[in-house]
């Protein structure tokens, strides 16, 4: 889906090599259609600006592959959803995108992941810098046991923002996370005093305060009730204009409601009885849910398995 207004996000300057999508299109093994180079005299149709390109991604835990052969393109200002049964490697894949696996002993990422054309796992890449640009919201709300204000200010402080700016930054982030009105009178209270849904929005505000380019959400609503879930989904829709969002969800309706593109993963069982996750299908959400091209996708979305 090309964004209608054709806006190019300028929030974060790509750090190094900017891939020129109009000329440098490698033949991907994904089956994802990448349009041909438009003829110069035609009104050029705006390309999807790719934020992430995953090529032959494989993640191993202690030598055993948990997911293999993932080829995926994630475009700017879109919501990309990862769906699939438990244990199919959705979370494993999303954690590759901000190098969270660096923190897991025994985890090993193979293949290529590029972010705005730059190899995310390149030798000169600093994982902490990566995570400043690519924020993450976790399955279980995990506010720090600090005040609401300090939770949001944590990231900006890290980036050396001045104390005098902090009140504005915090208000802005909480407003964007649709939490300001509920907490503006109790910023000095602990983040843990909030309800589960509010805590999750606090975690979103905390991520937004760092001014990232991408927000990764790992089942952000699985611990929330339907009303809190609806609020987060509304919020995602608003945030899409400024951010690229990747969401892992167990909930197919959520993927269908919120996302522009959906990737369906499943797990094969190998000879030793171990599960290996695979990407089955990646397409425009509407197409994936109405006319899936793989029988396994159809089986999953119609509830025949998983």
């Amino acid at each position: 889906m090309t964004s209608e207004d054709g806006s190019v996000p300028t929030l974060v300057e790509p750090t190094a090599i900017v891939i020129d999508v109009t000329t440098d299109v490698e033949a991907p093994a994904t089956g994802i259609e990448i349009p041909d180079t438009p003829a110069p005299e035609e009104e050029p149709e705006r390309e999807r600006e790719l934020v992430f390109e995953l090529r032959d991604l494989e993640v191993r835990y202690n030598g055993h592959p948990a997911i293999r052969e993932v080829d995926l393109d994630i475009a700017a200002n879109e919501i990309t959803a990862f769906i699939g049964p438990s244990g199919c490697g959705k979370t494993t894949v999303i954690r590759c995108l901000n190098r969270m696996h660096d923190l897991t002993p025994g985890a090993h990422v193979l293949g290529r992941v590029t972010y705005h054309g730059e190899d995310l796992y390149g030798p000169k890449v600093d994982a902490a810098e990566v995570r400043r640009r690519i924020g993450m919201v976790f399955q279980k709300p995990n506010p720090f046991p600090k005040t609401i204000f300090d939770n949001v200010a944590y990231g900006p402080k890290l980036n050396g923002r001045k104390r005098s700016e902090m009140a504005d930054i915090v208000e802005h982030a909480l407003t964007r996370a649709a939490l300001w009105d509920e907490v503006k009178d109790k910023l000095k209270q602990s983040g843990l005093s909030l309800s589960g849904g509010q805590q999750q929005r606090l975690c979103i505000a905390r991520a937004l305060a760092v001014e990232p380019d991408v927000i990764l959400m790992d089942e952000p609503c699985s611990a929330l009730d339907p009303i809190a879930t609806a609020r987060i989904e509304d919020l995602m829709e608003q945030l899409k204009a400024e951010f690229t969002i990747v969401i892992v969800t167990h909930n197919m309706q959520q993927a269908a409601r919120t996302s522009d593109r959906t990737a369906f993963f499943t797990a094969d069982v190998d000879d030793e009885g171990k599960r290996i996750g695979r990407l089955v299908e990646f397409d425009v959400t509407e197409k994936l849910f109405t006319a899936p091209s793989d029988p396994r996708t159809e089986g999953y979305i119609t509830g025949r398995f998983g």
């Binding site: 902490a128 995570r131 993450m136 995990n142 944590y154 990231g155 890290l158 975690c203 991520a207």
Partner: protein, 301 residues
């Protein structure tokens, strides 16, 4: 399987189900045994405290806590001043050495070392060190320090106590850090925080209560030790505030010397010193509780 429960008329349906005679008997027997073991466990504890207070309370006075020791232990009078000062100074110096080092060691083990061979070796060694008899620590410092400097000093005693405290502090820190939820660490890392910052701003504040109370319990343990000090600090009858020169003394050592004396005035002083030491150790334990409660309340607020 469905059992029909007959409820007598008028009784509440939610009342206890009728129990068999055998179960009632078992219940009573178990209750008696549990209460009995509790009482047995309390006997030595209560007896010890009551007896020490009885014997020692008579000697306690301000002058007992501050006055110098008599030169000859069969003389009555005098006080435990040098020993009180020695215990506080030597334990304090030991804490200054062992606590920062131990906390840093624990941070290394849990945050950096993980399951690396070096970390596993250190973890294993500190477990072994916890089990080393304290007199061995005393002998170790005696051969390593006292024999080389040719002088028994408070500092040598502090070193012996520090080697005793160090493994305790390392282990409690390691264990308390392991209890900090992984989600909090990940939350911090996901914002672009580096390891040092994550440890300083998220991990340590969360584990502070446990680390502080663990350290204070190690202090209490060290304050009560006699064996590591016996060969290392020597004896003194007047207060020596210089830890690096001259012999020193401590409450535990004075208890040992005075209690093994055959003269009544010395034995009375030993009781007084015992009570003083119990109160000091107890104060540290209470302080540990207060600190834990303080941090727990701050976390919840």
């Amino acid at each position: 399987m469905s059992t029909v429960v007959t409820t007598p008329p008028g009784a509440s349906k939610l009342g206890p189900r009728p129990r068999s005679r055998a179960r009632k008997v078992k219940n009573v027997v178990a209750n008696i045994l549990i209460s009995l073991t509790f009482v047995i466990a309390m006997v030595p504890l209560v007896f010890l405290v009551v007896y020490v207070v009885q014997q020692g309370a008579g000697s306690i006075s301000w002058s007992f806590l501050t006055a110098d020791l008599p030169f000859v232990d069969r003389f009555p009078g005098g006080g435990m001043g040098p020993a009180v000062a020695g215990t506080l100074l030597i334990t304090g110096a030991a804490s200054l050495m062992a606590i920062p080092l131990g906390v840093l060691g624990g941070i290394y083990l849990n945050e950096y070392g993980g399951t690396r061979p070096l970390a596993r070796l250190i973890r294993f060694l500190s477990e072994v060190m916890t089990g080393v008899p304290s007199i061995v620590m005393g002998l170790f410092i005696y051969t390593l320090v006292v024999l080389n400097t040719k002088e028994q000093t408070g500092f040598a005693g502090a070193l012996a106590l520090a080697s005793l405290m160090l493994p305790i502090v390392i282990r409690t820190t390691d264990q308390m850090l392991a209890l900090v939820p992984r989600e909090l660490r990940e939350g911090s890392f996901a914002l672009g925080s580096r390891r040092v910052r994550t440890i300083r701003t998220v991990v340590l504040p969360n584990a502070a209560a446990g680390i502080v109370s663990g350290a204070l319990l190690a202090v209490a343990r060290a304050a009560g030790e006699t064996a590591p000090l016996l060969f290392t600090i020597g004896l003194a009858t007047s207060t020596n505030t210089d830890l690096f020169h001259g012999t020193n003394t401590a409450l535990s050592v004075q208890i040992f010397h005075n209690a093994t004396s055959s003269f009544t005035p010395a034995q009375d002083r030993a009781w007084g010193a015992a009570l003083t030491l119990i109160v000091i150790v107890f104060a540290f334990t209470i302080l540990a509780r207060i600190v834990t409660a303080f941090f727990a309340r701050r976390q919840a607020a």
